[in-house]
Symmetry: C2
Subunit: 159 residues, 2 copies
C-alpha cells in the first residue's frame, strides 16, 4: 500500500518537524532504544566530566555488594558479555579500585573485591548516578514500580 509516488505535500512535511513514525510508533523495541539511548547519553554527560566511565558504576557497585564475585557472575548480573568485562576489569584493577584473588577450587576464575579506593570512588560516582536517576524518577512519577517490573520482566523473559 501507498506504493504511489509521494505527494509533494508529504515531501514538504518531511522537511519540517512533523515526522511520521508510522508502525514504529507502536514498537516497544523502538521506544526502548530511544529512551535508553537518551538516558545513557545524559548520564554520560553528567559523569563524563567527573572522569568516570559510564560502564564502571554498575560494575563497581556490584563488586562492592557482592564481594568475591567472579567475572562470569558479574557478566550475568550486569547483562554484558563476559568478553566486554575483560578490559574494564583490567583497567579497574590497574587503577587500584578492584583487587582479584585466586579461587582455590577453580583455577580458571578469580574473585573480585572493591578496594578502599574503589569504595571511595563508588561513593563519589553514586552522587552523580543518584542525581541522574532522581531526574528519571521525576519523569515517571508514581508509576516507577510498574515500570521497573516491566523492564525486569523484559530483561528476564526475552530470549
Amino acid at each position: 500500500m501507498n506504493q504511489a509516488k509521494p505527494l509533494r505535500s508529504e515531501i514538504e512535511a518531511s522537511q519540517g518537524g512533523e515526522i511520521v513514525l508510522g508502525k514504529l510508533d507502536d514498537y516497544i523495541g523502538f521506544h526502548l532504544r530511544l529512551a535508553q539511548n537518551a538516558s545513557f547519553r545524559a548520564f554520560q554527560r553528567k559523569t563524563g566530566q567527573s572522569d568516570l566511565r559510564p560502564g564502571w558504576f554498575a560494575l563497581l557497585s556490584l563488586i562492592k555488594d557482592n564481594p568475591g564475585i567472579t567475572p562470569m557472575t558479574l557478566s550475568r548480573a550486569s547483562g554484558r558479555d563476559k568478553s566486554t568485562l575483560t578490559p574494564l576489569l583490567r583497567d579497574m584493577i590497574r587503577d587500584g579500585f578492584v583487587e582479584k584473588q585466586p579461587i582455590a577450587r577453580d583455577r580458571r576464575s578469580y574473585a573480585l573485591f572493591a578496594t578502599a579506593a574503589g569504595a571511595a570512588r563508588l561513593t563519589d560516582l553514586s552522587r552523580h548516578a543518584a542525581e541522574h536517576d532522581r531526574r528519571l524518577d521525576q519523569i515517571v512519577g508514581d508509576r516507577k514500580a510498574e515500570l521497573l517490573n516491566l523492564l525486569r520482566r523484559i530483561a528476564v523473559e526475552i530470549e
Copy 2:
C-alpha cells in the same frame, strides 16, 4: 556503612546465583539498560540470519514513511547522532535501498527516498521485527500503552 571486612558467608553467596543488586535495584537507568540490551540482542539474533543490520530497520522505515527526509531530521527522529548515520546511509544507498536527491534550496543537504528494492526489503524486515515486538507485547500485556508513554516521556524530557 558496611565498611567491615566481608563475611565468609557473603563471599560464598556471591559465587552462586544469589546476586545482591543493592542500590542498583532501585535505579531506572540500570533496568532500562538491561531491558534494552536484552531486547536488542534478541532482535539481532533473529534478524542477523536474515542478512539485516539491526540499525537498518528503523532508518528504512522512517525514510519510507517520510519521503524526502534529510539526514539531520532522520538523526533526530531515530535518536542517533548525525555522524552515526553517515556510514549507514552510505551503505543503504550503495546497496540500492535508498536514493538521495539534491535539495534546491539547501545545497548542503539532500533528500532521501526508499527505492522499490528498499520497500521490498522493509517488508521482509518488518516480518522479523513484528515477530520480535509481538514477543515484547506478550511480556508487557495490557500495560503496553503506559509503558510506551513512560518511555516516550523519558526520551523527550531527559536532557
